[in-house]
């Protein structure tokens, strides 16, 4: 096994182009598990931990860009404005994990249970990839093609994620069997856009990829009293929102939970998230 240690983004992209079989690693919190267990023996590691350009984030007007190398610990500290993202970041593993695990790793691994991905979906984020051929931008839903599958080309590296900041409350939640250190049995992220009067709901761990719930979104956009922030939604409408959210889930039975429970969790969490975000308007 070789180790390639670029010190700049340019160098990293060149090495990536030259070594198609080198596995990129930043935090290592996914890859090293497989390596430690003897399950992964890549011919080479492409260590991105020294590429400072990947570890930045910026906000220019309404566009937010978060570099792939940003850790969840830093996201939780520095991107306070984006509450669902912070909630998701804080739910990742432990302090030890959060200080290393990166949003790029979460996106690159592309597990349907990846904690940041429902937030990116609810933000309608764009995935930014780079190579010696230049930059490529792709909407999140085109980028994730299946469980642990993406359109990232063998010569590409993840540069970061980008979204248009929306004005409005949002919420992230995930369920596991114990109170900490869980891979989500089901999770979701809800984001209200108080300007555009839209609702975005993304579901995690209940389909081959993270999915949005378009019927639930359309229904909510219709019934939310946009011009009356003090007014609550009738219980019936909240329940219908939950029902429509669960319908969008396509979960399976696995060692962590059953499909039936997952659908049930989506329904409950969707109702709660809607009530919370509406309440947070006030």
């Amino acid at each position: 096994m070789e180790a390639l240690l670029p010190r700049s983004l340019e160098e990293a992209l060149e090495l990536r182009a030259a070594h198609a079989d080198a596995v990129p690693v930043a935090g290592g919190t996914d890859l090293m598990v497989a390596v430690n267990f003897g399950r992964a023996r890549p011919p080479a590691l492409l260590d991105l931990s020294r590429v400072e350009e990947l570890k930045t984030w910026r906000r220019e007007n309404g566009t937010v860009f978060v570099g792939a190398g940003m850790t969840f610990a830093r996201i939780a500290l520095e991107l306070r404005e984006f509450r669902p993202l912070v909630e998701a970041a804080r739910s990742v593993g432990s302090p030890q994990i959060r200080s290393r695990a990166t949003i790029g790793g979460n996106v690159g691994t592309a597990s349907p249970a990846g904690d940041a991905i429902p937030v990116l979906a609810a933000y309608a984020a764009t995935i930014v990839a780079g190579s010696t051929r230049g930059e490529r931008r792709e909407p999140w839903n085109a980028f994730f093609t299946g469980p642990k599958q993406t359109t990232l080309a063998p010569d590409e590296l993840l540069l970061g994620v980008e979204w248009q900041a929306v004005e409005g409350p949002g919420s992230f939640a995930k369920v596991g069997t114990r109170n900490a250190m869980v891979i989500a049995i089901a999770g979701l992220c809800l984001q209200l856009d108080l300007r555009a009067h839209t609702v975005r709901l993304a579901l995690g761990s209940v389909a081959p990829t993270v999915v949005r719930a378009p019927d639930a979104e359309a229904f909510a956009a219709d019934v939310v009293p946009w011009d009356e922030p003090e007014r609550a939604l009738p219980e019936q409408a909240v329940s219908e929102f939950g029902r429509l959210a669960a319908v969008a889930a396509r979960p399976i039975d696995d060692v962590r939970g059953s499909a039936a429970y997952r659908r049930h969790v989506v329904e409950v969490l969707a109702r709660r998230a809607l009530s919370w975000t509406l309440g947070d308007r006030r």
Partner: protein, 153 residues
């Protein structure tokens, strides 16, 4: 490949296969066996150490990332004669039984108190959520952190 790193202020180097973790580097090559291996997948925190000042699971850090970096382990605590306040508090409070989780737990507790000298119960629980203990049921570990916080203030 040759890794050059600083562990607890001392320059060290060793030759490891590139897939090795920082934990393997510390334990098998450099003789720092204080950090423990209980799961090799970052679930238990027994391998907790500091890498450039940040609390990490050494089992998940590729050793190559420690090249040129400063590593701090449980062996850095205390001054050879006296125990660190957290170490002493663990003993005073009865927070040690088999002791396998203890180095990682102590490191995580020191990290917490360095950042938050008077943490609440909830803050302690969140900070130690990644450190598993099978022997104590955690109650005396909470006692120990409060005791150390009082001692250090």
């Amino acid at each position: 490949m040759l890794i050059r790193t600083t562990v607890n202020g001392r320059d060290c180097e060793a030759d490891v296969w590139p897939g090795a973790s920082l934990l393997a580097l510390l334990r098998d090559e450099l003789g720092f066996t204080g950090s423990k291996n209980a799961c090799e997948q970052g679930e238990c925190g027994s391998c907790s150490a500091w890498l450039d000042g940040e609390l990490v699971c050494a089992c998940l850090v590729p050793a190559v990332q420690a090249d040129g970096a400063a590593v701090r382990t449980v062996e850095s605590l205390g001054d050879g004669e006296r125990l660190h306040a957290v170490q002493d508090a663990f003993l005073a409070a009865g927070a040690v039984q088999c002791g396998f989780c203890t180095p990682g737990m102590v490191v995580a507790a020191v990290d917490l108190l360095e950042r938050n000298p008077q943490p609440s119960d909830e803050t302690i629980r969140e900070a130690l959520a990644g450190n598993l203990c099978r022997c104590t049921g955690y109650q005396k570990i909470l006692d120990a952190v409060h005791l150390a916080a009082a001692e250090l203030s």
